[in-house]
Each structure stands twice: as structure tokens, then as C-alpha cells.
């Protein structure tokens, strides 16, 4: 038993030490503000009402500039997500015009959107997106929460923080959206805005929210930080739509392996108790 304990302490240590990924230390980078999202931890789940509010913020504000190409309308109705009613989503989808298809005569057509369509992008291509945004490209947001990190700790604690708090992508988005500030010393940069959470601090995106940008159906007060939190949670779901299924299956897998391992330990012990070793 002592050997096993030692074995796994060593293993854990090796993982912890080796996993320290290099991170940008880029000039006094500011840690995102820590926030306990409902979906954190091994049993965490998304808050449906929050996802629905976040979807509303995304649709009414962010989608003017950002695409969300890996999300299809039907995903909004599926379990583990915002779980909007199918009929409501069908209506939302039908408000969009889908182009790019041809009819039987070979002429380009447009048609109303369906559940199976991906959420249409605001611009037809990258060039158009850049032209409309001061030559900066608004990135697709379907993976943004997984593609960004919120913490900038020294290498010897960073791996442990990440193990318990995750990469901080959702916290980063939340802080970024609500974290615009007046630049220090009244400095100004053409077409750029000061935001201490953005790597490099100068971001091309103008402050997208100011508070009171949407009217929430569930009566929640749409303060700036509330909207930012909701849209960050929604984008976290968009990055990992299978998270709830993943954690559920994980629990069953670990229980199964645990019971199986315990049985094998008993088998092994009783076998080996009969021989010198």
C-alpha cells in the first residue's frame, strides 16, 4: 500500500510540475476578476435562465460584429444548454435570411433560416468584417472561452490554480466586457480602446455594453456586470455544449472504475496472501 501511495504522489507531482504551460507575462497583465460561475466544479451545471439571458445579449449586441459559427439554432433547444422552446427558436431562425444556395434553375436564392442552420455571421467574409471594424477582425466567439485564459500567476502556482479554477476563460470574457477604463495619463490611440484585461491593453473593440442594453424577459436588472456575466456564461456553453453530459458520464465512469478497482484489490490481496513475496 505504501508503494502505491508513493507511486501516485510521484505521479501527481510530475503532472503538476510538467503541466506548467508557459503563459504570456506581457507587461503587467491583469488577472481576470474571479467569479464563481454555476458551471464550475465537478458537479457544476449551467444556469438555464442565465444562458437564456446571455443568448439575448449575444443576439442583440455581440452578433452585430461577431459570428458564432459552430452553434446551430437547434443547439439552443438541446438539453444541457439554454433549452429554449423549439417553437420559439424556429421563429428566431426564420427571422434570418440564409443565402448561398441555388434553386433548380441554378439561380442564387435566399430562404428563411431553419433549426439546422448555423447562426449566420454578420459579415459575408473576413475582409468585410475588418473593413467595418477599423481593420480589426472580430473573432468568432464559439470557442472563445476555451481559447482564452484569465490568470497570470507565476509558474509555480499557475498549474495548481488552473487545476482548481480552470483556465479562467469565462472570467476573462466577463472582466473584458465590463472592464473598460479611461486610459492612464489621458493617452489616446486611434481606433483603440483601453482595457486592462486585454493582452497589450489596447483593444479595437469599442465597449460593447454600457448597462441597460437589453430588457430581460425574466425581470433581472440589466446592469453592465450582469449582462457581462450572462454573456460570458452563454459563451462558455457555446465553447463546451456537452459539458453537462461529460460530467455526468464522468461520475458514472469513475464510480464503475472505483468499484471494479476495489474488487480487484481484494482479489489481488487474497491471492497474494497465500505466497511469500
Amino acid at each position: 500500500m505504501k508503494t502505491i501511495t508513493k507511486m501516485f504522489t510521484a505521479l501527481g507531482l510530475a503532472v503538476a510540475l510538467f503541466a506548467a504551460p508557459a503563459h504570456a507575462s506581457g507587461g503587467g497583465q491583469k488577472n481576470a476578476e474571479d467569479y464563481d460561475f454555476s458551471f464550475e466544479g465537478p458537479f457544476g451545471k449551467f444556469d438555464r435562465a442565465q444562458l437564456q439571458r446571455g443568448w439575448q445579449v449575444f443576439k442583440e449586441v455581440c452578433s452585430n460584429c461577431h459570428s458564432l459559427k459552430y452553434i446551430r439554432f437547434r443547439n439552443l433547444t438541446e438539453p444541457g444548454g439554454p433549452e429554449l422552446p423549439v417553437e420559439a427558436v424556429k421563429k428566431i431562425a426564420a427571422e434570418y435570411e440564409i443565402s448561398g444556395e441555388v434553386n433548380d434553375e441554378g439561380e442564387p436564392i435566399t430562404r428563411p433560416g431553419r433549426l439546422s442552420d448555423a447562426i449566420p455571421a454578420p459579415y459575408p467574409n473576413e475582409q468585410a468584417a475588418k473593413a467595418a471594424n477599423n481593420n480589426a477582425l472580430p473573432p468568432d466567439l464559439s470557442l472563445i472561452v476555451k481559447a482564452r485564459e484569465g490568470w497570470y500567476y507565476p509558474w509555480y502556482i499557475s498549474p495548481f490554480i488552473k487545476l482548481f479554477k480552470g483556465n479562467g476563460g469565462a472570467e476573462y470574457v466577463r472582466s473584458l466586457i465590463a472592464g473598460y477604463e479611461d486610459p492612464p495619463h489621458g493617452e489616446e490611440k486611434e481606433g483603440l480602446n483601453y482595457n486592462p484585461y486585454f493582452p497589450g491593453h489596447w483593444i479595437a473593440m469599442p465597449p460593447p455594453l454600457a448597462g441597460e442594453d437589453v430588457e430581460y424577459a425574466d425581470g433581472t436588472k440589466p446592469t453592465l456586470i450582469q449582462e457581462a456575466t450572462d454573456v460570458a456564461a452563454f459563451l462558455a456553453w457555446a465553447s463546451m455544449p456537452k459539458m453537462e453530459e461529460r460530467k455526468r458520464v464522468g461520475l458514472m465512469t469513475l464510480l464503475y472504475l472505483g468499484v471494479f478497482a476495489l474488487l480487484m484489490l481484494m482479489v489481488k490481496k487474497s491471492l497474494w496472501s497465500r505466497v511469500e513475496h
Binding site: 510538467f18 508557459a22 470557442l143
Partner: protein
């Protein structure tokens, strides 16, 4: 020790088959009756764990390929398709990605086990050398696999690593173009990496077969590092070691599952969730954690060719280990001095891993240089000398004596 079992199969069909193709008696001789030292500890379970991980990688890989598209314009999208639309696709993808990491965790433990107990010494030199080849093939496989999802780190990792070959004098640039299939890392590169990433695991499986064959000729080493002298020293592989290995495999799989289900991208790089963009270089290009010690050595040398030579030498040197270690005693249990140098080497390798993740400048560069130097000093100077200087502790006459001695105490 090896050879067929003399077992007579009672079942007439089994006997009929076995008389024509002795596959059943080989299985019986090698996997059931195989005489195994009775004193193996849990560090010996990592061979079985490695075999399990290889099977997991091959199985999840084959199914992933059914949904993956090896083209620069579609690879990233097809991985997201797997994650979002394919039934259980997220599970396959995370099992495969984390499987690579846990494969390396297991192989590093397995290798250091060999170093500690002197498993590379006569008569197991060839067994050890096949192991080193397996390790190198594993690294090639993992590197090419990491390129396939075509994220930012996939692309830039491929650029950095393939560019290393340009350091080779005279033909370097030609070799790099040949690797790329063009003048930059692009679609032809992705497609050949895909082809090779499918091929290499089967080469690996064949190498593992040779590895186990060699193992079954010499028999296992053991914690006391003394060869088996009589049947008293051994136990049949089944059920003693099959059951013990299965227990260890399950515990290992639990740690693996904890990552797959609860922190699936902890061991990776966030930036790889952004699609490859040849026009935007990430602030830090860092390989996966299991390459970090070698990456540190590469960057420790100010000269590109020198770095490449040092990095590859750190692997090549392992082939000569059986002859660099001059001590007659295998297990470090009986070599107090060598044991201390072993743990120093472990620390040095961990330090190299940490240094590999830091920007190669200032204090970290110095640390990486010192650790790289020590790595080579350990193998080229310390190990050869120790055999002459060190006075080993008395070694038990046989495994059964060692076991019974412990039982009495």
C-alpha cells in the same frame, strides 16, 4: 524459461488446432504459466498500463479518423464537428488527446523504473534498446498527431520543429522542403502527417511485440536485480500478475478518467482552440508537456545545429546506457551512491521540463544549460565512474532468499 508449454489441451478442438498451429500453447506458455519473479513491486505494472494505453489510442484513433477531414481548410472544423455533432465524439476526442499525455506519464515512469533497477543491463540490452526505439516512435507519433487539429499551436509547433532540420549542413533546406511537401507548412504537410500518424502506432505495436518477445527470452528483471535461479523464485504470470496488473491499470485509468471528464484541456494549450493562422505568431510557442525537457535542451544551446545535436543526443545516449553503466550490480537498492545520483537525475529532468515551458532567457536559460550539462555528465561521466568507485551493499543469493529474509524481519 521461454518456449512452449507442455500443456496437453483436453478440449479436442483446442488440441486439433494446437497440433497444427501452436498458438494456444504459446499463449499458455507466455501469458499464463510464464514464470515471473515473485518479488516484483507496483513499478512493474506500468508495462501492462502502457499496453492498455496503446490499445486505447489505436481504438479511439480509428473511430476519430472516420469523422476527421485531413485538409487545412476543414481539419479544425471537423474536430469541432466531432466535439459537437458526433455521438460520443467529445469522449473519443478527449480520450485520445489525454491518452497521449497519460501514455507519456506511464512511459516516463516505466523508463525511470528501468534506470532504477538496472533493467537495461545484461542480458536485457536489446530489450532496453527496443524500448528506446519505442519511446522515439511514440514522440514522433504524438508530435504528428498534435498537428492534425490544425489549431494555432499545431501549426506553429509544426513550423518550429520542422525548421530544426534546416540546421543540417548542406542538405538542410532540401530536407525541410521534402518534409513540408512544398515551401512552407501547408496542406501537403498536414496530409503526410495524417498518413504517418495513422501508420506509426501500428509500427509501435510491432515494436512492442518485439519488446515483449525480448522480455520473454530473458525474463523480467526485479527489484533486487538478481536473476531467477530456480522455480522457487517465481510465480506463474496468471493469476498472480494478471490480477495485480489489472488492479493497477484500473487505478491508473481512474486518474486518466478524472482528466478526461473533468479537466480535458488542462494538459493542453488554450491557444490551440484558435484555428491555425500563418499570419499571427503566438506570443509563446511551447510544445506539449512531454516534450518540454527536450525543448529546454534544444534552446539551451545558442547555436541551432548544436541545439539539434544535443537534443537528439540526449535520446541516442540511452542506446549506450548498458555499456556506460560499469557496475556489476543491477538494482540501486544495493547501490547507495548511485541511488543518490538517480534522484538527482530525476530532479534535473523535472527542472528541464519546467525550464522548457519558460521563455529561453535570463535565469531560466542558465538553469536549462546547467541541467542539460548535468544530464550528459550523469550518463557520460558519473555512471561509468561509479562502477569503479562505489562499494555496493551485499546482495542476497537469490530472489527467494531476499523474499524470505524480508518475511522473517
Amino acid at each position: 524459461m521461454s518456449g512452449h508449454s507442455t500443456y496437453e489441451f483436453k478440449n479436442p478442438i483446442a488440441r486439433w488446432v494446437d497440433e497444427r498451429l501452436p498458438i494456444l500453447s504459446v499463449v499458455r506458455g507466455q501469458l499464463v504459466d510464464f514464470p515471473t519473479p515473485r518479488n516484483l513491486n507496483y513499478w512493474w505494472t506500468f508495462g501492462g498500463i502502457l499496453a492498455t494505453m496503446l490499445v486505447i489510442q489505436i481504438l479511439t484513433g480509428i473511430v476519430l479518423v472516420m469523422h476527421f477531414t485531413p485538409h487545412t481548410s476543414m481539419a479544425f472544423d471537423s474536430v469541432e464537428h466531432i466535439m459537437r455533432d458526433v455521438n460520443w465524439g467529445w469522449l473519443l476526442r478527449w480520450m485520445h488527446a489525454n491518452g497521449a499525455s497519460f501514455f507519456f506519464i506511464a512511459v516516463y515512469i516505466h523508463i525511470f523504473r528501468g534506470l532504477y533497477y538496472g533493467s537495461y543491463k545484461a542480458p536485457r540490452e536489446i530489450l532496453w534498446m527496443i524500448g528506446v526505439i519505442i519511446f522515439i516512435a511514440m514522440m514522433a507519433t504524438a508530435f504528428m498527431g498534435y498537428v492534425l487539429p490544425w489549431g494555432q499551436m499545431s501549426y506553429w509547433g509544426a513550423v518550429v520543429i520542422t525548421n530544426l532540420f534546416s540546421a543540417i549542413p548542406v542538405v538542410g533546406d532540401q530536407i525541410v522542403q521534402w518534409l513540408w511537401g512544398g515551401f512552407s507548412v501547408a496542406n501537403p504537410t498536414l496530409q503526410r502527417f495524417f498518413s504517418l500518424h495513422y501508420l506509426l502506432p501500428f509500427v509501435l505495436a510491432a515494436l512492442v511485440f518485439l519488446h515483449v518477445w525480448a522480455l520473454h527470452v530473458t525474463g523480467n528483471n526485479n527489484p533486487d536485480g538478481i536473476e531467477v535461479k530456480s522455480e522457487q523464485d517465481t510465480l506463474p504470470f496468471h493469476p498472480y500478475y494478471t490480477m495485480k496488473d489489472l488492479f493497477a491499470i484500473l487505478v491508473f485509468l481512474m486518474v486518466y478518467a478524472a482528466f478526461v471528464f473533468y479537466s480535458p484541456w488542462y494538459l493542453g494549450h488554450s491557444i490551440n482552440f484558435a484555428p491555425a493562422n500563418p499570419l499571427s505568431t503566438p506570443a509563446h510557442i511551447v510544445p506539449e508537456w512531454y516534450f518540454l525537457p527536450f525543448y529546454a535542451m534544444l534552446r539551451a544551446i545558442p547555436d541551432k545545429l548544436g541545439g539539434v545535436i544535443v537534443m537528439f543526443s540526449s535520446l541516442i545516449i540511452l542506446f549506450f546506457l548498458p555499456w556506460l553503466d560499469t557496475s556489476k550490480v543491477k538494482s540501486l537498492k544495493y547501490r547507495p551512491l548511485a541511488r543518490q545520483f538517480f534522484w538527482l537525475l530525476v530532479i534535473v529532468c523535472l527542472v528541464l521540463g519546467i525550464a522548457g515551458a519558460q521563455p529561453a532567457q535570463g535565469a531560466w536559460l542558465l538553469v536549462a544549460r546547467l541541467a542539460t550539462a548535468w544530464y550528459f555528465i550523469h550518463f557520460l561521466v558519473i555512471l561509468p565512474l561509479l562502477g569503479f568507485i562505489e562499494k555496493p551493499k551485499p546482495i542476497p543469493a537469490s530472489i527467494s532468499e531476499a523474499v524470505l529474509g524480508k518475511a522473517k524481519a
